[in-house]
């Protein structure tokens, strides 16, 4: 025997009302169709009244009908993994997930070129990307939860570094994201550039300033095999002036346009130069590349220009630096 659910019954009454059937006629037809016990005249009368008062709708309430502040409340409560799923469902939720104020205590990117893998660690979640035949193996785990806690994996079609970079972008794309510690780590013997150029290319595509309170690069002075790193800033957000001031006391005697740092217990040096749009790190294993040099020098030579503009002042400061570095720091 068919079971008439209340909502189906309501739908039928709604249809009779729409077709302007009187209440009694609607009740009679329903009685003939589904039996007298299923629906009383009083019930039909009551629903007619509610429909006329515009308090009845056949439309099911669903999430996207909610006001934005409620949807924001839902999005705010999503855990990291769910957030990545929700933003793949529809445009509206993606826009909300990508725009709500959010804070990560830490976001670490580990790149291991010997194992051909990338890991993203944030808010107690670790996502590992490994090259695998036919695509990339993506594993989710919660390293700080109980052992054997939820660990999921799946093989996704695509190139490993591209996929990891794409997912990282979905985190960084939120202009209201605040990151307390942002770390980039590589295995000794490699650098992010050029081995992980996908990441380097992705960062300038973000059209907002990243809020990072502490930036942790892999301990530069431990990597004696460092060739070079160039950090590009296409939007001029780098506090160039401040960086130059910080580096001023470390200027190289052989080339004052570069700051120079000694590796611990070694005569090897790390050189840093701040341009308007780039920061250039040269490691002990630096190999000249005319193309890169031309690119950087063509872009900007204002480090030297700024020196020229304040030549006398800089000279004074240099003298001060030698005699009393603390005074210079205070002035800065």
């Amino acid at each position: 025997m068919d079971v008439y659910k209340e909502n189906i019954l309501d739908g039928m009454i709604y249809t009779f009302h729409f077709q302007r059937f009187p209440v009694a006629a609607a009740h009679l037809m329903l009685t003939q169709m589904i039996g007298s016990e299923a629906c009383t005249l009083l019930y039909v009368q009551g629903l007619y009244k509610i429909i006329e008062d515009k308090k009845f709708s056949l439309t099911k309430p669903h999430l996207l009908n909610m006001p934005d502040h409620i949807l924001e409340n839902v999005v705010k409560e999503l855990d990291e993994e769910s957030r990545t799923i929700v933003r793949k469902t529809c445009k509206k939720l993606r826009a909300l997930a990508d725009n709500h104020p959010r804070r990560l205590e830490s976001l670490y990117v580990h790149f291991n070129d010997t194992q051909n893998s990338v890991s993203l660690h944030f808010n107690g979640l670790a996502v590992h990307y490994r090259e695998k035949e036919g695509g990339c193996l993506v594993e989710f785990s919660h390293p700080f939860s109980a052992p054997n806690s939820m660990q999921k994996s799946k093989v996704i079609e695509g190139e490993m570094k591209q996929l990891a970079t794409q997912d990282l972008k979905t985190i960084l794309i939120n202009p209201k994201l605040e990151i307390e510690f942002f770390g980039l780590y590589t295995k000794i013997g490699s650098g992010f550039y050029p081995e992980f150029k996908e990441l380097v290319k992705m960062l300038p595509t973000l059209d907002h300033k990243l809020h990072i309170e502490h930036f942790l690069w892999q301990k530069l002075l431990e990597n004696k095999n460092l060739d070079q790193i160039i950090m590009h800033d296409n939007y001029g957000y780098n506090p160039v002036k401040k960086l130059r001031d910080i580096l001023r006391p470390f200027r190289s005697h052989s080339d004052p346009s570069w700051a120079e740092f000694n590796y611990p217990n070694s005569d090897k040096k790390l050189m840093i130069r701040v341009y308007e749009d780039n920061i250039w790190f040269k490691g002990p294993r630096f190999r000249r590349d005319e193309e890169i040099e031309k690119m950087v020098d063509d872009e900007d030579d204002s480090w030297l220009d700024s020196e020229d503009e304040s030549e006398e002042e800089v000279t004074d400061e240099e003298e001060t630096d030698v005699e009393d570095p603390a005074t210079d720091e205070d002035e800065d």
Partner: protein
């Protein structure tokens, strides 16, 4: 519906203090009536302000018509008042934006919200309309938790969401339905451009 037959929210009488308690009567849009304690009402900023403004005495509550809540049905309102009675006297969370709050769903709330999605969404509407902050928090958390372990396709079914393609198609259909001439104008404009004219007019 008479007050005698009204579905009254269950109250644990043993837990009620000896002093005389004030109750208010509310009526849903499908004429279901509820008696709710004054303390429970305080969980709802909207209702609390309303009863304060009305200044009812115990006699007024009995003699005057129940306060109508026009846009919430009885099924939903029953859940709302059950929640308010259970959490009466509890501090109402204040979101000052300083410390990100962690929302936990207590056992009672979890059982109360063990309902179909349609009713859950109505409950959220009601909590928002009646400004019951903590009920809104837990119900939104419940909806957020529904995403756990789902694929995007499964989640679209749960939340009744359109896919990007459906979204686009609906948007186009809505635009065309709104202005059937718009497409013709656009095509005419494109044609004129192809013919080399700079000005449309």
């Amino acid at each position: 519906m008479s007050v005698e037959n009204a579905p009254v929210v269950d109250v644990d009488e043993a837990a009620i203090p000896v002093e005389k308690k004030m109750y208010y009567r509310f009526e849903s849009n499908d004429k279901k009536e509820f008696r709710v304690s004054e303390l429970a009402i305080q969980q709802s900023e909207t209702l609390n302000r309303l009863v304060e403004a009305m200044g009812y005495t115990s006699e007024d509550v009995e003699n005057k018509p129940a306060i109508a809540i026009e846009n919430i049905d009885g099924k939903t309102l029953k859940l709302v008042f059950q929640w308010c009675e259970h959490h009466k006297g509890e501090a109402i969370p204040v979101d000052d934006g300083s410390v990100p709050k962690i929302v936990e769903i207590p056992e009672f709330d979890a059982k109360l919200m063990d309902i179909d999605n349609g009713l859950l969404f109505k409950l959220i509407w009601a909590a928002d309309y009646l400004n019951i902050v903590q009920l809104l928090n837990v119900s939104c958390k419940k909806v957020a938790n529904m995403a756990q372990g789902k694929t995007p396709a499964q989640l679209r079914r749960v939340y009744l969401l359109p896919s990007d393609e459906e979204d686009e198609a609906a948007k186009r259909a809505a635009q065309e339905a709104q202005d059937p001439r718009a497409r013709e104008v656009e095509e005419e404009f494109e044609e004129r451009k192809r013919q080399g004219g700079n000005s449309f007019f």
